[in-house]
Structures are given as structure tokens and as C-alpha cells.
Symmetry: C2
Subunit: 464 residues, 2 copies
């Protein structure tokens, strides 16, 4: 945890921004995998962590904005519990660590909220993202699960986003620690990815690295695949072979639950093939083009378009696309090989605050997320500000299903040489990813260990 | 998956046992860790796996017992999905793998159930154990979450328990594979547990071993601790030091999701201390006493009492307890150092079918679970039958909080020398655990690799 003062200051600031009524914070519970007591690793809700810091199951909290009172709700261990768990600090001892002086048993939350509601006071909550939240909101507030998302409080959401989006120096330190663990995970993969090794073996070794310090873990489910073009790929079903590109997208969270998120692409054999080298280097130019844009005041969309244009240039050089690369970027035709966004915010969540809504996190000033294929996957577009932390991860993917679909629909025929694409449908996909901080006068890559990026660095890392 | 024939036969058998109406099977969904799309590793519901075998999120199924029709509900991938995931088999192709010829979109389930319900037919379901189940039962059947457990169908539960509790040869093979992975996990810990190593490092290495084959994973959250007396201990907060006993309780599930569950206790230094050796050997005698009882027709409670009596004998030899060891066992006084049960059923769940109710799984013939401390933690008591698979895991624990509590309450003063216990309050705890199958004429330990049990075997395993 940070100091009690940190949590108090955060709540004070939220109080000045959020108006009146009661803010409700649902801490997370345990989730049973296959029965109630066989639980997944506990993950606290990130907003609860941000304002209260307490990292265990079964807590809720309110901020009464009218009275200025904050209360944490939970249940003390019984002597029966203590026999099984050993002696633990009490809830009120823990609450003091987040600077909260008042605690109540869990069972007091519902009557308190009902009384406030009967007095016409508004009970304001954030959008639920687990079934357990829906059940609790139903029990606490009588709102049906299907109506909860739309009844979440927009100004509460906006205030939380505005605070969590600007990382403090101590948060940046925590993120940098997570990035360093993530880099070590990737360095293991650079060494392991050889013919006859199974994807699952690398994923397991990478996970070991993420987990071997108290409280650290993966920040998201690892992608470890020789089929990088399938962007949602968590099966670990392949054995690596010479000629494959192995793609790892993996990161750790540190003990405070701040994330790192990195991607790496490497040849399974000794070297990239000539064709792989061409695509890898186009991708690197695209990466650099994006990074050159990163500074306060510059919309992240500009970095995205710069990356897209660099990919379009490479594609036209190869004869796969034609026409003006800038037009290819602006039209959205680039998305045939780069269907996702260049990056996303990162913090206590690897896609930071995704449960609060990408529209609030990645867009401002009335700009709406696009609906066109490609642009609709751009999670981050808004002008950058000091303290923003996000990923940069352009990639190049040859997705046979997408190529066939677009060809059949006759999309962007002025920009795309579909005939030429046929010979590339077996290429696969690749990307690299690093994490950046916007500083007052530019940007800084996060992490104290350099993750291999150039082909030379990749080859060096494989032989460490 | 097993063959389609296997799943068809299981459903046929259930049909003959279960009466009429509609049996509802909720497959599991994805669960968001900190937002909806950052999911925990998917774990299918075990009963769904048993009758339908399909191992991915978003499915439900019914067995219409009156018409004899089975239907799987789910949604086909859209072309948009396929762009991101690659081409996948359709739901109807998958359904054939479980021998089900009819599939419908998810959205058809609710109207189908509502229509059946309006016709006065009963919709029978199993107890929910995830928030998502509660939300779905509310939406599908209009039953409030707080009422769902009590409205679960008892004869449906009993029929499922009666089938899943008897393991077929192919299930035993799957369990044995899981046990072998589990044994390899433990062999790693025997080698790693040295002074200056952190609990989290061993837990991470053990997890790596569990995860490095496609589809395998931990079967439950690992316990890896030098404070074995705290029985619910998942924090990994300690660094090992000379003189500690390191206790690992960990297991894998194989790709079909059958579990292994083993425990090991080992000295962190070169050898056990003299005191540790005494307790370890009492524990081994208790283990052997339990195993001697395992045969068809013998109640597992007899094995539990034999283990308890052997521990009581050891405790009286040490002067910690006094009186007749059998009386110490029968009275429940043994539970001061052995507060849990000797074992539990194991199968697709590591505590097999715990979500269906221990009363149905571990007890029969009107026998009710005890309420006294110690006996109330005995998950398995019933007479054993061929095909039962379960753990044997007696342990000896010196729990300071429990010793103080019992002393203050004056419990079992005729059996317990509380004064002597004072000097043992810093001992900690230890256990070993193996998995057994009841055969037609006795029992068999599961796994093809021997897990170290004797002190000599422990020392050998540490120097491999």
C-alpha cells in the first residue's frame, strides 16, 4: 500500500470533483472456479485499490459526499476463522492504513443505503463487470442486472477517470517495476523460443517469472503463439518450428497491482527469413513513427496515423498496396494488415479503466470512437498529457479470413493489390510493444531494462 | 474430450435416473479480473464437462427428459470474431463431439424455458456457485439470487453425484495423469526448499510445472508455506530459513480437467530436527493407519478415526495428551492437533462436487455431518465403493490460537496436557497427502511416480 495520506488525499480530491450524494465502491469478492471455495487468485477492484488500497476480498466502501464521512464495510474474522488463518489485523486496523476511521459490518451497508435512498439522496455507483457485482447491486439497490450499466453514474465515472489517468510519481515507480518484471519475462522467451518447444512451455516459464515475488502476477492472460495473426489467441496449441515467428504478448503486475504490458516477435529458427525481415523492419519504422509523435498536447490518434502511414509505405514498397501512403492511412485501408489500435492507457488495469468505458478514457472533447473497421479498435485517441502512461504496439498481420472478406466485399480496391496478397496469406503476424510515459516536455519509455527491438538486439537476446 | 459415445451414455444413464421435466446445465462464462475483457483462465463447469465435454465459454444445455431431446445453446462466431480468432469449428460441429445433434442460439433458451414453465413443466437446476450463475438463473427463471440455492433440485443433484462419484477406467487414467504432473510439481519443491528461498519462488516453479502442457493448470490455489499450521495460507509472504518445515499442498488438473492433489512436508535445512522427526513419524503412522482401512464397504470415517487414534498414540507417547488413544479419537480431543478431515473425494473437482453439497457427496444413509469441531471438517465419511477416488491427508498442526482457545474453554482437560503444549506452540505443522482409488478388492495409490513419504525418501528427493 501507499501511505494512508495518499489515499486520504485521493478521496479529498474526488470529493471536490464529484458533487453530492453517496459514492459506492464495491471491492471484489472471491470467485469460485468450479465450486465456491476453489477460488481464482484474488484480484481487488482497481478503483477500490486506488481510493482505499485494501487488497483482500469482502470489502465495500462509501464516501458520503454530504457529510464528508468515509466508511469501509467488512466483517471481522471470527475465532473460528483465526484458527484456520492465523491471527490477522482487524478491519479497523486495516482501515486506518487507508486513512479511514470508521468501519461497519457488511450487513450494515444495505440498510444505510436504503435509508439514504428513502431520504431522496442519490446512491452513485460505477459500471459492474462481474456477476457478483450485479448480484450485490441488485441486493443493495434493487436495480435489475440488465439496468445496472445504464444507471452507473457518469460524473462519478468521469471524476475517477480524470484522477486515475494522471499517474503520480509513486505510481510511475510502481508501473516501472511491473515493466521490469515484464521485460525479464520476455528475455526468457527470447532464449526459449526454439524448434520443438511448445507454446505452453514458454507461457509457463514466462508466468513463473511473473509470479515469483510476493503479490506479483500476470497482468493479463499471456499470448504466446506462432500464429500471431490470430489476435485473440490463448490456446497454446502449437509446437514451434523453424521458419515460424514466435509472438509473446505478456506482462506482470507488481505487488501494488500496477501493470506492465510488452510484446516481442522473434524467429524460431536462427534468423528471420528475408520476407520476415522485411516485414519486421517496416514494423520497426512504424513503431518509431508513432513514438516520434508522443508529447503533451499531441493527440494519440496522430501517433496511430503515423504508424499506419509507415506501414502503408512499407506495403506500397512491397507492391501489396498502392497509392499515397497518407491516403491509405486516413482511408482506413491500412487496417487490412493493422486492424487494431496503436496502444491503450495502462495503470492499475492493463487496459486502464476499461470497465469505466473507453469513451471516457481514450477520447475527449466530444470526439467519439470511430465505427469503421480498424479505427473502431483505437482505444486511445485523445491529446496526451503529462502523467499519461500507455502502450505503443503497432503490428503487421496477414489474416487470411480478413483478406478474403475484404476482397469479396471489394473494399479499398484502389489501395490494395489483392492478387499480390495471396502469396502472403501464410505469413502470420508480428508486433513489438513498449510502455511510455508522457513527461512535461516529451515522453519516456518505461522500464530500466531495454527490451530487444532491432533485429540485431533480437538475435543477441536469443543467444544470452 | 472423451468420445461422443461416452457423453451420450452418461446422459442416457442420467435420463433413466432423473425422472421428468427439463434439466438445465449452465456452462461457465468468462470472469473479468479487473474489467470484463481481462479474464481469469477459463474453467468450464465440471458437471457440464461431465455430460457435454465442451470446454469453452458461453454455452448452456438442457436435457428434456420428457421428449428425450438434448440441446446445446450457444452463439456461432461472427465473421468479425473469426477475423480476431481465426477460423474455428461451428457450435453444431462441436455439439456432435458430445453426441448432441441439436443446437440453438443462446437467446432461445429463455423463451424455451418460459414456455415449458408456463406448461407446468419443472425446470430443474443445480446450485449456483458464481455470481454469473445467479444472474443467469434470475434472467432465465425469474428466481431471486437469495432463493436459488434452496430451489436447486435435490434429485438432480443426487443423480449427478451418484454418477460422477464412480470413476470409469478412462477417468481414472485422466486422474492418474494429473497425479503424475502433481508429483513432478512436488519433486521440484523437494529440491528447491532451501534457506533464503522465498515461498513465492517455489509456488511459481511448481505452477510452471503444472502449466507447461496444453490445457493443464493448477487444480487449486497452491499452499506453499513454512507456517503449515495456518491451514488456509495462500500469501507466500515468508522466506525459508534453516529449522523451518516447508509444506506444499499443490496439484494439477490434466487437459480434461481431472485433478491431482498432493501434500509434502520437508525440512528447509539439511535434516529435520529431532522434534520434527518425532512428529513426522507419528504422522506417517497415522497415514498408514488410515490407508490400512481403505477397502470397499469400509466407511471412510473408520480411516479417519484410525488416523486420529494413531496421532493420539503419538501425542500420549510425547506426554502432550493422556488417556486411552481410542477415547481421544472418539471424543474429538485429537482435533486440537488434527482439526481437519483425513480426506475428500477427488475427480473433475479437487473437492469433488463440493458445489453440489458435501452432505450428498461424503455422507449416505441418513448419516449427517457432525457439528463438533474436527468432525465438522470431515468431508468424507461414507462407506467406500469401487471407483471412488479420494485423498488421504492426515496432518499434525500446533495452532497457537486453537491451543489458547481450548485451554481457555477448559476443553478435554482429561485428555490434554495443556502445560506441555506451551513448549510446542512454535512447532508449526506438517502433512503428506496421496490420492487413492478403491478397487474391487482393496485400494490402490494413484500415480505412476512415487511421491516421497518416509524421511529417507524425503532426504533422497532433496538431493536429486
Amino acid at each position: 500500500m501507499f501511505s494512508a495520506q495518499t489515499y486520504k488525499e485521493r478521496r479529498e480530491r474526488l470529493r471536490t470533483m464529484a458533487g453530492g450524494g453517496i459514492l459506492l465502491f464495491l471491492g471484489n469478492g472471491e470467485v469460485g472456479m468450479n465450486y465456491a471455495d476453489n477460488t481464482y487468485p484474488f484480484r481487488q477492484d482497481s478503483t477500490f485499490l486506488y481510493y482505499f488500497g485494501l487488497d483482500y476480498a469482502g470489502l465495500s466502501a462509501i464516501m458520503d459526499l454530504d457529510s464528508g464521512e468515509d466508511i469501509i464495510f467488512g466483517d471481522e474474522l471470527t475465532i473460528d476463522d483465526i484458527v484456520w488463518t492465523g491471527t490477522m489485523p482487524t478491519l479497523s486496523q486495516n482501515a486506518l492504513l487507508s486513512g479511514v476511521g470508521k468501519t461497519l459490518p457488511s450487513g450494515e451497508l444495505r440498510p444505510l443505503l436504503q435509508k439514504a435512498s428513502a431520504q431522496g439522496r442519490s446512491i452513485r455507483f460505477l459500471p459492474p463487470y462481474r456477476g457478483e457485482h450485479s448480484v450485490r447491486l441488485l441486493e443493495l439497490l434493487g436495480i435489475a442486472p440488465s439496468e445496472q450499466a445504464s444507471k452507473a453514474d457518469e460524473s462519478f465515472i468521469k471524476a475517477v477517470v480524470d484522477m486515475r489517468i494522471h499517474k503520480s510519481p509513486e505510481e510511475i515507480e510502481a508501473i516501472e517495476e511491473a515493466v521490469d518484471i515484464s521485460t525479464r519475462m520476455h528475455l526468457i522467451a527470447y532464449r526459449m523460443a526454439r524448434p520443438e518447444v511448445h507454446e505452453a512451455e514458454i507461457a509457463a516459464a514466462v508466468r513463473r517469472e511473473a509470479c515469483q515475488r510476493q503479490g506479483t502476477d500476470l497482468s493479463f492472460p499471456t499470448i504466446a503463439t506462432v500464429k500471431g495473426q490470430a489476435l485473440h489467441n490463448h490456446g497454446f496449441i502449437h509446437t514451434l518450428k523453424d521458419g515460424d515467428i514466435f509472438l509473446l504478448d505478456a506482462g506482470a503486475e507488481n505487488a501494488l497491482h500496477y501493470s506492465g504490458d510488452l510484446s516481442s516477435s522473434m524467429p524460431v529458427g536462427e534468423k528471420f527469413t528475408e520476407r520476415q525481415e522485411l516485414i519486421y523492419n517496416i514494423h520497426l519504422r512504424s513503431f518509431d513513427a508513432a513514438v516520434k509523435c508522443l508529447a503533451p498536447g499531441v493527440p494519440y490518434k496522430k501517433a496511430h496515423l503515423a504508424a499506419a502511414q509507415a506501414i502503408a509505405e512499407g506495403m506500397t514498397d512491397l507492391g501489396l498496396m498502392k497509392g499515397n501512403p497518407q491516403d491509405i492511412a486516413l482511408s482506413g485501408a491500412y487496417a487490412l494488415v493493422f486492424p487494431c489500435g496503436t496502444g491503450h492507457m495502462m495503470g492499475l488495469d492493463v487496459h486502464d479503466m476499461e470497465n469505466l468505458g473507453e469513451q471516457y478514457v481514450g477520447y475527449t472533447g466530444g470526439e467519439k470512437k470511430g465505427t469503421q473497421f480498424g479505427f473502431k479498435s483505437l482505444r486511445l485517441s485523445r491529446p496526451l498529457e503529462p502523467g499519461f502512461v500507455f502502450t505503443v504496439e503497432p503490428g503487421i498481420y496477414f489474416i487470411p479470413e480478413l483478406i478474403d472478406l475484404w476482397r469479396s466485399q471489394g473494399l479499398f480496391k484502389d489501395f490494395i493489390n489483392y492478387d499480390r496478397f495471396e502469396a502472403w496469406k501464410d505469413f502470420g503476424g508480428l508486433r513489438n510493444e513498449l510502455d511510455y510515459l508522457i513527461t512535461p516536455d516529451g515522453c519516456r519509455v518505461l522500464g530500466t531494462i531495454r527490451k530487444p527491438m532491432t533485429i540485431e538486439e533480437v538475435y543477441q537476446a536469443r543467444n544470452l
